[in-house]
Amino acid sequence: MAARRDKVLISVSAVALLGLLLPLVLLGAYLWNESVVAEEQRLAELSKRLGQQTEQAIIDARELLDALNALTLEPCSEQHLEHLQEAAIQRPHIRAIGYWRAAERQCGAGYVQGQALTPPQASRIYDNGVIAWWPGADTAVGGVELFLMRYRQHDVAIDPRMLMTPGLLNDQQVGLWVESMPMAHQPADAELPDPDSVRVGLTVDREQQRIVSRFSLGTLFPIDIVAVQPMEQFRERYLPTVIGAAIPGLVLVGLWLWLVLYYLRRQFSLSTELRDAIARGKLQVVYQPLVDLNTGRCVGGEALARWPREGNETIGPDVFVPLAEDTGQATDLTLAILRGILDDLGPALREAPDAAIHLNVTGQDLASERFPSALKQALEQARVPAAAIKLEITERALLNTDDVRARLRALRSNGHRIAIDDFGTGYSSLAYLETFELDTLKIDKTFADAIESEAVTSSVIGHIIDMARSLELDIIVEGIESPHQVDWLRGQGVGFGQGYLFSRPLTADQYREWCRTRNESA
């Protein structure tokens, strides 16, 4: 009893724990994924802005050079220099502007007098006459590698660090590539993977615990932006979001737990109620008649329990029988039904024990020491012979143990007859059944249905009938609903039937009356 309760509690706890873990795991996976997507979008947006900014700076420099070359001012005059100064001041990323004759810088704005950059090898020469030198050792001034563009008489020197506007992606390592050549990166000691080695979009690099992203712009010049941030930082950024989303998640989990506990309590309270109903004899017993298919006579009935509850919904045997089994009340239930039978039909059974009442017996009953003696005692008290109570055991309860065999043999030697209920739904073989001492096979309703629909399985019932006959057992077919089934079964030599065609389950009085009428007319 206590063990049973423990088992129930363990199962319930396991379900509750699963209910707790599963949503948490799903929620975690979902939030992680959402964070990655959100970060990807954020980086894509920032990278796009960075790339556009760079592109804009290059286009602007080109236009500036064009405009400066078109100036009609006298070279290196005060006005010319003022003009250069002005243009440089307006553009924070431009470090210097120079006016050149061939390879000699004549004058300009930005550098100290005499400074000039003449890198030996152009990085790019464009068809429109613009020459560009990417940042490198040959373009360094004061330790800063500059990006140079020259068009005819003028050149501009761009500080690429200024293209990475402070504030944009400033919390991570970022590198900027233009036309696949490194243009800028921050911070100064950043070590960034080459864009070609990085998948476009966001990559979670678990091995190095970092998040690497690469985005590309390809409008005028191919521009690639690679950003790297430690996983830690990424987690910190999205922690508030995760917490924000986790609270409703936890509420859901709590709701789930409450539901499980509510169900548990209900089950326990229902089992208490059942115990009370059994103890106070509140269960009703109804009887479904069994009929001889050849004579049409009533040859007995199957006792079925009803549990009428005051002010509550009626709970069917499909619920309370398993509940009784789960809460260790199966034998109490069986004995309560037996008491009901003896109270209702005691005198009748004493007079005509052949019209036996079938009592459903569970696997637990067979396993318990108490059941056989309680059964014997109740019958003796009511002075009803054992032959009047036929015991129905489901095929699945017919365990392959010597205990069960011995108990069945003992019950049978007391005078009870034994029927196998719901036969055909288990997988018992002929050889297996032979090892038990049995009297009757009750063939499950599904096979009777098959006769009516003339489905393929109707051949199965033929085999079952043959099997029963070879074991020299009586056959009762359950769930008979049409005369056609009766004809067919009679043709097969089946002796007995039960079903709505004859009668639904009846109260004791109705049952007695039904049998009397039936047998008089037969």
Binding site: R101, T118, P119, Q121, A122, I125, G129, I131, R150, R152
Partner: protein, 235 residues
């Protein structure tokens, strides 16, 4: 023959802005440079100088017989204190010179080719001269004017003007024709303001084909004038 004084007067009149380079021309004019041969002994060749109205104006333009001799002019310029490119700037100088020439000559039929130490401009013969003539076509004059403007800025350079022919006709005749064409180009550049000591003319005749002469197309490619612009690197 017109005297040097007269010649300078003409240049003054025409290119008063280039007075400085013109007087430089004067100072080197008589300094032991080879005199240019008068194109008198070969009647079929028209004298390209005739349109300059200065028949003796080729004086002062060095004519070389070999490439070695042509590069000797480098030493002359360096020794004479001509502007130079410092070695560290050579790559930069070549880059910007090439790009400038390519851009300015984009709409001409002059091909610009750059190699390690010089930029070569190639004028296709057919578009530059009439057959057997050393007279410049107008299109070629226009291209030379453009080039002269660039050379004026990029003045730290030696210009070797090479004439080439195909292999039809006698070699001597072709050598002479190619030389006269090179001289005509040099003369035009000089008149545009380029100092003569920066230039050397060579006639290679049929000796340096760039294509096989057995097809008309190949012959056409071989008829050409090349301007090789070589930065003068300080030593």
């Amino acid at each position: 023959m017109v005297s040097n004084e007269e010649r300078i007067r003409v240049i003054h009149r025409r290119y008063s802005a280039l007075l400085a380079s013109a007087s430089l021309l004067l100072t080197v004019a008589g300094c032991g440079l080879l005199p240019v041969d008068e194109p008198a002994n070969t009647p079929p060749i028209e004298d390209s100088a005739s349109d300059d109205a200065q028949p003796g104006s080729a004086n002062g333009l060095r004519i070389a017989r070999s490439e070695d001799e042509a590069s000797g002019q480098r030493e002359v310029l360096l020794e004479g204190g001509h502007a130079t490119v410092i070695p560290e700037n050579l790559g930069y100088y070549m880059d910007i010179l090439t790009v400038r020439l390519r851009q300015d000559l984009a709409h001409s039929n002059v091909a610009v080719h750059r190699d390690q130490t010089r930029v070569t401009l190639t004028f296709p013969g057919a578009a530059s001269f009439d057959t057997n003539s050393a007279e410049l076509h107008p299109a070629m004059r226009a291209a030379l004017d453009t080039i002269a403007r660039v050379l004026e800025e990029y003045h730290a350079s030696l210009i070797t003007i090479a004439g080439h022919t195909d292999n039809s006709g006698s070699r001597d005749y072709n050598l002479q024709l190619s030389e006269q064409r090179a001289v005509a180009v040099g003369r035009h550049l000089r008149n545009t303001g380029i100092a003569t000591e920066r230039m050397v003319a060579i006639g290679f005749g049929p000796d340096r084909p760039v294509a096989a002469n057995h097809t008309p197309e190949g012959q056409a490619r071989n008829r050409r004038v090349e301007l090789m612009i070589e930065p003068l690197v300080a030593t």
